[in-house]
Symmetry: C2
């Protein structure tokens, strides 16, 4: 069994940087190490797949990689099985997870990443689906997926775009912290890593660490 290799980006954009630019060095290091020339892109979190592919191609082409959109492949399962690296972009987590289920891609991606050790890069919604479940997404439930259980590439949950409570706010909607604590009142809930924008969790085998400057907050049940 090859080593698990994950790069989990809290967001694809960080204030002051172009799309994915802030994490360029991390992505290049991971892909160079694996001698990857082509990245398989999964655009299901947004409605316009081809427009999303065009956007993702800009940075990857500049860095010397080819990007293929899974929506252009005749057999998506086969595309996963022969992929050199997988990138799942942000958007709506419910739509993304539902489409992964609809296309029967949950187990193929899981096997490709955990058994074959193919690098997985996810951003925002792309990291919600990489974790144990989507129970801690920030997104609106715009469609109904057959389950909230996800790829389970790591045995815990992440809250991307994590924001610390703003004690000066006059807004009375729940803070992110309150929402995560409500999740922890539920049976069988998992630990949650609140990953601030600009923070990246990398996982190599059974080792995990943080990159970037923004840091993270771990909520243990």
């Amino acid at each position: 069994m090859a080593k698990r290799q994950l790069l989990l980006l809290s967001s694809s954009k960080v204030h002051g940087f172009e799309y994915l630019e802030y994490t360029k060095d991390d992505i290049q290091e991971l892909l160079t190490k694996n001698q990857t020339s082509t990245v398989l892109f999964i655009p299901y979190a947004l409605s316009n797949h081809e427009a999303y592919l065009k956007k993702v191609e800009i940075p990857f082409k500049k860095w010397g990689y080819k990007v293929e959109g899974i929506h252009n492949q005749e057999d998506p399962i086969h595309a996963i099985q022969k992929s050199e690296a997988i990138f799942i972009g942000g958007g709506n987590t419910f739509r993304l997870l539902k489409t992964l289920y609809d296309n029967n891609l949950i187990n193929p991606i899981r096997n490709r990443v955990l058994k074959d050790g193919v690098p997985y890069i996810g951003a925002s919604a792309g990291i919600n689906v990489a974790t144990s479940s989507i129970h801690t997404t920030n997104d609106m439930p715009i469609v109904y997926p057959p389950s909230f259980e996800a790829l389970n590439l790591v045995p815990f949950n992440i809250n991307p775009h994590y924001m610390d409570p703003d004690f000066s706010s006059k807004h009375k909607g729940e803070t992110r912290e309150e929402r995560i604590l409500q999740y922890h009142e539920e049976k069988n809930s998992k630990s949650v890593l609140g990953l601030r924008e600009g923070a990246t969790l990398y996982v190599e085998g059974n080792h995990a660490g943080l990159k970037g400057v923004a840091g993270a907050r771990l909520f243990q049940k």
Copy 2:
């Protein structure tokens, strides 16, 4: 068939006011008109039902009403059928809707409000479940309900605690507007009323209007 009577509060708290205090006049007017002495409270959106009941009792008792918690009733369906008024408080929308389904209360509440004309007061999560579906809640999906379809007391959706886009923000998570527009990309999605904190939608029969000062924004597909 009696007239539908709904009071849909974007939030139970507004900055500078005690719990429910900002909407006191609207609640009292509705309950007085219906000669209500007892309000049936549904606390399912929070985990500690008894503590939630105690909190809700404070303003209602002060205004001269008795509050019964549905969690203390031996037969919740019967409690709905004999209720004089129903109040569903805020918290987590997924947990609230799941518990309504688990206790088989969807149709009993719907019948009691739409056929018998019993007043319905909802706040935050309590208005998400009053609408067509919970597709436009802001809450985290901490539990998996059997459906996102809700009480459908009105044939559209509401987004409570609606916030206008903040163009000065450096945060890259989706704005509320972007999230609602993503919902409208989906088939069969409904109009969405973005109800700002401090705004109340009242419905009498087939007439609806806004109360409060904060206003609302209507997203039509």
